[in-house]
Symmetry: D5
Subunit: 164 residues, 10 copies
């Protein structure tokens, strides 16, 4: 059975050229320590998705995150500080449209329901956007008699267009 068999996420070699060097360092230590993002998130006091995003170079590590990661993953703190210095350069991991079936499904939701979301959001909030920056997201697992369900929550600040 190909189920949730304690297998942890690792870094596929073919994705490396699109990632900052910190991704290799972090994922290798994660593999060595055999840690899930759940365990890492607990240590960092952050959401699992945020931790995974940090590993892929899509989110920023605070000084405290670096200290925690250094402890948990046995990576010298100054090496982490150096590799995680600067500012994330986001958005380069993905093909357009996404080719990975799991990620494509998320894209397909936007593709099919994009205008429906817009219509409902505009009616509920007015002219503006849901911020993807002042934003958080999480994944939850629900199970019922029909099987498992993934529940992804997106929560963003509503930003009305400025009048000028």
């Amino acid at each position: 059975m190909s189920g949730p068999d304690k297998t942890i996420a690792t870094l596929r070699s073919d994705l490396v050229p699109r990632l900052p060097s910190s991704a290799v360092t972090l994922f290798e230590a994660k593999k060595q320590k055999n840690l899930t993002f759940e365990a890492i998130a607990k240590k960092l006091g952050r959401e699992e998705v945020a931790c995974a995003a940090l590993f892929y170079g899509q989110a920023r590590a605070s000084p405290e995150d670096i200290k925690n990661l250094s402890e948990l993953l046995d990576i010298p703190q100054d090496r982490l500080e150096s590799e995680l210095s600067g500012w994330p350069d986001r958005g380069h991991t993905l093909d357009l449209p996404p080719k990975e079936p799991l990620i494509y499904r998320l894209f397909e939701i936007v593709q099919n329901y994009g205008y429906a979301y817009k219509a409902v959001l505009n009616e509920k909030f007015g002219d503006g956007i849901m911020s993807a920056i002042t934003f958080s997201t999480k994944i939850e697992k629900e199970t019922d008699e029909k099987g498992d369900w993934a529940v992804i929550t997106l929560r963003g600040k509503w930003l009305p267009y400025s009048r000028f």
Copy 2:
């Protein structure tokens, strides 16, 4: 102020060529009756996003939906039955990548967090995808001292890859 001022969502003329003819019929009646998707959703007993998707031709109307829409919008039932016959041909409303800023933000979330979602979902559920078909979604509004927050929930059945 460009806020939630009871303005309802209508159909922009430049989107018409990408939509089935039912979209024009439905949106014109909605405008005539000055109804929000919230009111329509209440009548149909469905989520607002599902109703909006139905208007944009991205979801299917059941015979009961058609009856309810006919009553609520004063459209002859046989006209609705005819225009909503057949099966939705989904996915054509959107540019790739989306150009509309509100929809782009949703796409950007997939672009930035796609691999993070995948890593966490794989660790939590195993090898598979979150279905975008056995799936539901809704929008909620939260307000706190910082302003309004849009909360979008995506809930999909987990489908493990078959072994063969």
Copy 3:
């Protein structure tokens, strides 16, 4: 001489299919009345760029804007209200990359200086973005012995990435 000879901006017929029907109504009245965006902006109490964006369907008209436009352009107010109802569907006017030489130059500035802007903004403000929604922009004209200079100012709220 092809200078600023009181020629006003009108709507090219080949752009019409990408625009909402309000654009045709507004531009035709503008041509009839021979009004510049400067004159329109004075009446509406808004920036010229915002007025032009409103004409192209890229910004929203407030009820007061509609009243003012109706008066200034001699368009029945209910016609304007109907055509400008709903929410702008932005971003569809442009080719990617832009083909129009004037607009291409703006794109080229982003293309050449994009990472430089990012580096300086990150150092000055931290990890985040300059909002294009809580945002205003204006154009000014300066003249010196070398000729005319266009000065475009972009002013956006800084949005730091949420920690989650």
Copy 4:
């Protein structure tokens, strides 16, 4: 907090293949010396954006710039002269459309307001373009009770189309 915490901009390894070798030399020395572009700009007597552009290979260094950079960054002058010889080959750092959220916002401004800028510029200046070559740009930070604001100024010579 992910604020302006004296973190300096460094070079992400995944961007290196799109940059001239000088970018690596300059950014490594910048990191070693822990210098902001503000400090570098002061030394060179240039705008911060111009300095960052020079680091990314998007602007040219004058002999005096090279001397100043050599002193400030402790890089042998002849090495800098050799690596910065020749002429910049601009425009290759960016995806099209930009994927990085911060840079995308700048692009989105062009996408949404492009035709509005064109209409207003044509009315103010006639038939022509704002030069992106005889051009300067700068970033300023403003703070009010609502938070921080980024102000980007673009200033370009107006070039009327030649009649021939």
Copy 5:
């Protein structure tokens, strides 16, 4: 004659950068042992296509698969476990549209008959999709007086769209 002359499939060097490192390990051992996917499939108790997909990093190996591959291919089990750890990152091997003539023909079938499949599937099953995840596929060879025929069977669970 360039027929089925016991030549086995090997890995072309130009495809390597798009594949996980496990692909190189597995294909090299396959070449060394001179094994067809038929022989490998027999050992693993899986379909040939599934085995080939596993080699290309498009399907997941169970612990038992790894044990069997280790025995059959003389690869140390822990090396295989390490290289096949994590979750497949699917979909990156192919150009869009496919350039390889054999694979293009499969794509062409979708291109030409896509809407015909949709119409017939909708009529037979209702509004939904055939799953590509709860899915299996196999290849059979038939021979008659006209020559050889390839028969590819695709079998997927029907997933009706959820009503919400």
Copy 6:
């Protein structure tokens, strides 16, 4: 429930510009007569997919097909002869990649398993391709305790590369 509720496939108005005029004629008559492709296939003695392809202009009608369609759909035979004259111009109905979720799943199968199919086909048949011309395909429905399964069979002549 959105199941196989005797709803027949009709032609969406937004697809019309990509289709020959015969598609409109045929689908309108099909809707009028409320016929499934199953019924049409029985009359014509062809596979359902072939009939649907014929309706979409992706397959050719023989003189006998035209006679049968004329009788079944009450369309004057000479009108059908005229509209179905000439040769199909195939392949234009689809976006690349397909946006419709049902059709995308078929494409995804090619995307994920393309090289696996090639490897197994080459080992079984030698150097060549499976013809998409000397080719047939059909859809079958299977039902077990888990639900419905769609089974698509592709059967093509194997064409070895000529030696020259």
Copy 7:
């Protein structure tokens, strides 16, 4: 022989949707009057290429041009003034890359010699560009024993990059 047989350039119907309405007016009158661009250029005192560009909506007509065109082509002056009002919206006539063989050859020259032009221009003029705005171009015909030669001259102001 398909030589320079006094055939004049007319407007192909399939290009019309990409052009402003003035193009149709001008080309129809040109056809009616059977005038070459040489004759038109003589009347207007402009280069032939500039005249053709004006017809295609790629250059601006001065008031005097409009008067001359009105006389030469027997088009009411106020109709021309109205259709040629506003500012050219350039660049939309062409596919990318150009498909028309004659235009492709011009593009191919840029494709093959682009970097060579840049290297020589940089060495001769420094860091900058040749303006395509402060610019003129003309076509000449030379004939020798080998046949006819087309000579296209591009003359643009050199614009050095501003230091800032």
Copy 8:
């Protein structure tokens, strides 16, 4: 001032993967010897653009060119002969559309004036193309009170379409 300060054109490291190995050899020697293309062109008796094209692998070196380059640049003749053997594989240096601002301007000229060139060339020469093969080009510098002007001449054989 960033003017024509005797800086010679060198090879940017990021362009190397798109060029044949001869480009590296030639540009390194050019840098070592500090030679302009003007000097090289004088030695070879060819146009500067042709010499630069030769360096970028876009033109072919004759045996005499190789001898001259060997002498001028102090490169062993057999090394040059080996690296310049075979036939140029042209056209790969450029992005589409070009991103480099200088080269983009040349492309923009084709984009804006392409159909105008075609109309005038057809009227002057008949149905055919200007050859980009039986072709030469050169750059000249003119200076007047307004500054410097770049003059690029394209001269190609006119090829009429064959009648068949």
Copy 9:
């Protein structure tokens, strides 16, 4: 059987927007008269492919062609003269890459054998190209015991690159 059953080629309605109006006129008359391109070619004294290209607006009609077409197809000569005036605007009929299976096969030959053709042509003729302008092409049918064979001949003048 779907063989060469005296069916003539007609114009599919979905291709019309990409073609000049003459294509509609010519194909309609061809259908009315039930003429093959073989018959038309005999009348015009041209190759069948050239005649078909003329119908699709990809080749030019001489005055004598127009006279012959007028007689053969019963189209008033002045109507043909008017619709066929001007110069062909070639290359717009095709998708890139071609989607039509028959045309894709021709493209695939270029895709697979392109570099092989180049290598052999360079060795046989030197540095240059085979002209697609001073060019003719024809189709022949051969039949042997294995079935029918299509033989397409391309014959183009060799154009060596000019030395300059």
Copy 10:
């Protein structure tokens, strides 16, 4: 003169990443031995184009081909057997559309005459395609008083569409 001066085709370094490793081995030996494809074709008893395609990894070598290549090129037979094992992965050498001018001309022929070929082939053969698999091609050189002519012959089996 840049004519057919006994220069042989070699492998450009920038094409290597798109080719199997066998291409490097074969082209290096060809250069060492200074052999044309004409000489190689004579040894192998195959067409020159087929030999070049084999070198570029676009055609398959038979055991006898390998033996002959080993003898002619002095490459150990087992090395060739190993590098040429497996099945060609075709189609990856080319840009889309092709940038190389010689190859572009071949593509342009398909682009301009594609529908003309289709119309004539359909009329001559019925509904089907010319196979690019059961296919051969050759290049011949003709010389007359006007110069050299390249004649490319494409010969493919006609495959009628199956009726199903």
